[in-house]
C-alpha cells in the first residue's frame, strides 16, 4: 500500500489541460448572458436521470476521473436539488419520471439553469414516439443548454459545463 501511495505522490498527475476555449465559446453563445453573469465562478450541479439508457451517466462519471478532474474548475455534483444551481438532465423523459423531474426542478432554488445532456435529452432520441416517453427535456422543462452526443464524450461534457462558468467578457473576446 505504501508503495502505491508513494507512486501517486511522486508521479506526475494524469490530469489533462482544460479544453480549448473555442469549444466553450460555441456553447457560451447558446446561453443567455444573464445566466453567465449570475453564476460566477463556481457551479453546483444536480444530475437527474429522466429515463436514460445509462450510457450518459457513464460519461458524466468519467468527467470526474483523474484525466478530466472537473472539480478543479469549481464544478461539483451535489446530492440535493436544494443545493444546486444547475440541473443536468439525461435521457428522454419517460412518463413515469416526468413528475419526479418536475418536482426536482421545483425543489431547486432560483436562479437555476437546466442543461440537457445527450441526444435523448434533446428530443427523445431513438425512444421518441413511444407511449411511455414524454419526449426530450424541452417538452417538460425550459432548457438553457444542450450538450449533444450519444453519449457525449467527457471532454464535450466538460466544454459544455465550462461554458456556464465563463464570464461574458471572456467569451465575447474569444473568436
Amino acid at each position: 500500500m505504501r508503495k502505491t501511495l508513494l507512486k501517486g505522490l511522486l508521479n506526475a498527475p494524469l490530469t489533462e489541460g482544460p479544453p480549448p476555449d473555442a469549444g466553450c465559446a460555441a456553447y457560451a453563445a447558446e446561453l443567455n448572458r444573464a445566466a453567465r453573469m449570475r453564476l460566477g465562478r463556481s457551479l453546483s450541479i444536480r444530475h437527474i436521470d429522466a429515463g436514460s439508457c445509462n450510457g450518459c451517466e457513464l460519461e458524466i462519471h468519467a468527467v470526474g476521473n483523474v484525466f478530466y478532474d472537473f472539480e478543479r474548475f469549481g464544478l461539483r455534483f451535489v446530492a440535493s436539488p436544494r443545493h444546486a444551481d444547475v440541473l443536468l438532465v439525461t435521457g428522454p423523459v419517460t412518463k413515469n419520471m416526468r413528475e419526479a423531474l418536475l418536482r426536482t426542478y421545483d425543489a431547486t432554488p432560483d436562479p437555476k439553469w437546466v442543461v440537457a445532456l445527450g441526444s435523448c435529452a434533446r428530443d427523445g432520441g431513438c425512444f421518441a414516439g413511444s407511449y411511455a416517453v414524454a419526449g426530450g427535456v424541452p417538452e417538460v422543462l425550459p432548457v438553457d443548454l444542450h450538450i449533444p452526443g450519444c453519449p457525449p464524450p467527457p471532454a464535450e461534457i466538460l466544454r459544455g459545463l465550462l461554458a456556464l462558468l465563463k464570464a461574458p467578457q471572456e467569451t465575447q473576446s474569444s473568436p
Binding site: 500500500m1 501517486g8 436514460s52 462519471h61 419517460t94 413515469n96 431513438c126 407511449y131
Partner: protein
C-alpha cells in the same frame, strides 16, 4: 424422471425458432415445466409474451440444453409460473401491464411497470384501453415494535439511475427492503415492433448503455439465427474483442466504485484511470468509447487495423502491469475489507433458484457463464476446459474478487483472441430482404450476466416482435435478500456490488 429434453419433445413443435427448439405446451405440459422449475431441476431464462401467447425460455444447466415453451392464451389467461416459482413474479406482473395477460393463480395483483402515467393501459395487448385508476402503490407491510420506514428515490443522491427503495428498519438494521422499479420504462418492445433491422439494432444497443456491446451481440446473433446468416469469421472474433473490452471497462469501474462506496477513494481513482484507458482504446480502435453500434446484424461495423492491434496489445500490457498492485492494495487494506467481508450475503440456494447469472451468481457458487455453459462462437473454440472463477461466500467481498479474477481472465482472453484473429477483408455479411422471415434466439454474456434476445422477423426483414431480457431481472430481487439484517448505511455498498441495470430491467 425424464430429462428436460424429453419433456420438451412431448410438446407440439412450433415455429421455426433457431437454434433452440420451441414447442406449444398444453396445460399439462406447462404445469410439468412449472413443477420442474419450482423443484430446482430447471432454470428460468426468460418469460415474455405477445398479444395471445406466453413464451418461457427454460434451461437444463447440467445438460446444457435450452428450449422455449409457448402457452397459447387467446382468452388472455395462462397458469401462473410465478405462483410456484417466485423468480417469474415480476416478469408476469410486467406481462400483465404490457399485454393484459392474466397469470392465473398469482396472488400479487399489483402493477409493476405501469405507474398509471402512460395515458393507455396494456399498450401491447389486443385491446389497449384508456388509462386505469391510479392507485397508490401498496408496499408490502412490515409489522413490529419500533419499526420505521425509509423511502428512497426515485431520484437518488448520486449520479445513478432512478428507482424507489422502501426500507423498513429497526434502528439501523434493515428488516425489509422492497424495490419499486419501472421509472425508466421507455416502451422498447413497442418501438421494436415494425422497426427496420438497422433501427432495431440501434435501439437494442441502447437498452442498457453499459452493456451496449452485450445487447448488440445478443440481438445480432438472434437476427442472424432467424435469417440463417453466416457472418465472416473475422467479425466473430472482433465481436469477442469488443465484448471483453466492455467487460474490462465495467469491472474496473465497478471495483473502484465499490471501494469508493466503502470510503476508499484511492482505489476509485486508480481504477477510474484504467477504465478511461480502456474506453480511449475502444474509441481509437472502433470509433466509439462504449462501442455503441459497433456490433450489427451480419457482423461488425468497424475493423481492427494493424495499428489497432498494437493499441489493444499495449492496453493489455499496461493493465497487466498496473492492476496487480491494486489487487494487493484491496487485499491489504483492513478498513476496506472490514466493510466488504460479510456484508450483503446471498446464499447459493437463492442464486440457483433465481438463475442469477453474472458476477453475483458466480460469487455465490453458481458456475454459470454463457460463454462456457451455452458457448457460442468464438468462445466455444476459446474457452474449452475453462474454469469459471467461483466463490461461495456470496458477500460484497466475493463479488469484488470475482470481478478481479474476470479482469485478469479478460486480459488473457484478449491476447488469445488477437493471436487467433482470422485475416480477411470481410467484416459484415449482407442482409437482403429476399431471405424471408424467421425466428431466432440468442444469448450473450455481458459484464453483468446473461443477456437473452428473441426476435421474430417478417418477410420484409422488419421486426415483428422482439424481446430483450436483461440479467438484472433475476438479480434485483436478490438485492432485497442481500440487505436483510445489514445496516442501512451499507445499502449503497451492497447495491454497488450488485450494480443491476435499471434501464435494462425497465425496458
Amino acid at each position: 424422471m425424464p430429462a428436460l429434453a424429453e419433456l420438451i419433445a412431448q410438446g407440439r413443435p412450433a415455429g421455426p425458432l433457431r437454434p433452440w427448439p420451441r414447442i406449444i405446451a398444453g396445460e399439462k405440459l406447462w404445469q410439468q415445466l412449472i413443477a420442474r422449475l419450482a423443484s430446482g431441476r430447471a432454470t428460468l431464462l426468460g418469460l415474455w409474451g405477445e398479444a395471445a401467447a406466453v413464451h418461457m425460455a427454460i434451461l437444463d444447466e447440467g445438460a446444457r440444453y435450452a428450449a422455449v415453451a409457448t402457452y397459447e392464451c387467446p382468452e388472455g389467461r395462462y397458469p401462473s409460473v410465478g405462483q410456484s416459482h417466485p423468480p417469474a413474479i415480476r416478469l408476469e406482473r410486467a406481462l400483465r401491464d404490457l399485454y393484459g395477460l392474466e397469470p392465473l393463480g398469482l396472488s400479487d395483483g399489483r402493477p409493476w411497470l405501469d405507474h398509471g402515467q402512460w395515458g393507455i393501459s396494456q399498450p401491447l395487448g389486443r385491446n389497449p384501453a384508456g388509462p386505469g385508476e391510479v392507485e397508490p402503490y401498496a408496499f408490502l407491510p412490515a409489522e413490529g415494535e419500533s419499526l420505521h420506514e425509509i423511502p428512497v428515490g426515485p431520484v437518488h443522491a448520486g449520479i445513478i439511475e432512478p428507482g424507489h427503495f422502501r426500507f423498513t428498519a429497526n434502528g439501523e438494521a434493515v428488516v425489509r427492503l422492497e424495490e419499486r422499479l419501472g421509472y425508466k420504462h421507455k416502451g422498447i418492445e413497442s418501438l421494436m415492433q415494425g422497426a427496420a433491422l438497422d433501427e432495431a439494432a440501434l435501439i437494442a444497443g441502447r437498452v442498457s448503455g453499459d452493456s451496449t456491446v452485450a445487447f448488440s451481440y445478443a440481438f445480432a446473433r438472434a437476427v442472424e439465427a432467424a435469417l440463417g446468416i453466416e457472418i465472416p469469421p473475422r467479425a466473430t472474433w472482433l465481436r469477442a474483442i469488443m465484448a471483453e473490452l466492455e467487460r474490462l471497462a465495467n469491472h474496473l469501474g465497478d471495483i473502484g466504485a465499490i471501494c469508493n462506496d466503502a470510503a476508499f477513494a484511492l482505489m476509485h481513482a486508480y481504477c477510474g484511470a484504467l477504465r478511461e484507458h480502456v474506453l480511449r482504446t475502444a474509441d481509437a480502435c472502433f470509433g466509439h468509447r462504449l462501442m455503441m453500434d459497433c456490433i450489427v446484424p451480419g457482423g461488425v461495423s468497424a475493423d481492427l487495423s494493424s495499428r489497432g492491434f498494437e493499441t489493444v496489445r499495449q492496453l493489455v500490457a499496461m493493465i497487466g502491469k498496473e492492476f496487480p498492485p491494486l489487487i494487493e492494495l484491496y487485499d491489504n487494506t483492513a478498513s476496506l475489507q472490514d466493510r466488504t467481508a460479510g456484508t450483503g450475503i446471498i446464499s447459493p440456494a437463492l442464486v440457483r433458484q433465481y438463475g442469477c447469472g453474472g458476477t453475483i451468481g458466480r460469487a455465490s457458487g453458481r458456475a454459470f457463464d454463457t460463454r462456457v455453459t451455452l458457448a457460442y462462437p468464438p468462445y466455444d473454440a476459446l474457452l474449452f476446459n475453462y474454469d469459471i472463477p467461483l466463490l461461495t461466500d456470496g458477500d460484497v467481498n466475493a463479488r469484488v474478487w470475482i470481478r478481479i479474477r474476470e479482469v485478469e481472465q479478460s486480459l488473457a482472453l484478449i491476447e488469445r483472441i488477437l493471436a487467433r484473429m482470422p485475416a480477411g477483408a470481410a467484416i459484415k455479411a449482407p442482409i437482403t430482404a429476399a431471405r424471408g422471415g424467421g425466428e431466432g434466439i440468442a444469448i450473450a454474456e455481458g459484464f453483468r450476466g446473461d443477456v437473452l434476445a428473441w426476435v421474430r422477423i417478417g418477410t420484409d426483414t422488419r421486426i415483428e416482435r422482439c424481446h430483450l431480457r436483461d440479467p438484472s431481472w433475476f438479480q434485483w430481487p436478490l438485492l432485497e435478500a442481500a440487505i436483510e439484517g445489514n445496516i442501512v448505511a451499507d445499502f449503497p455498498l451492497c447495491n454497488k456490488s450488485f450494480n443491476c441495470s435499471y434501464s435494462g430491467h425497465d425496458l
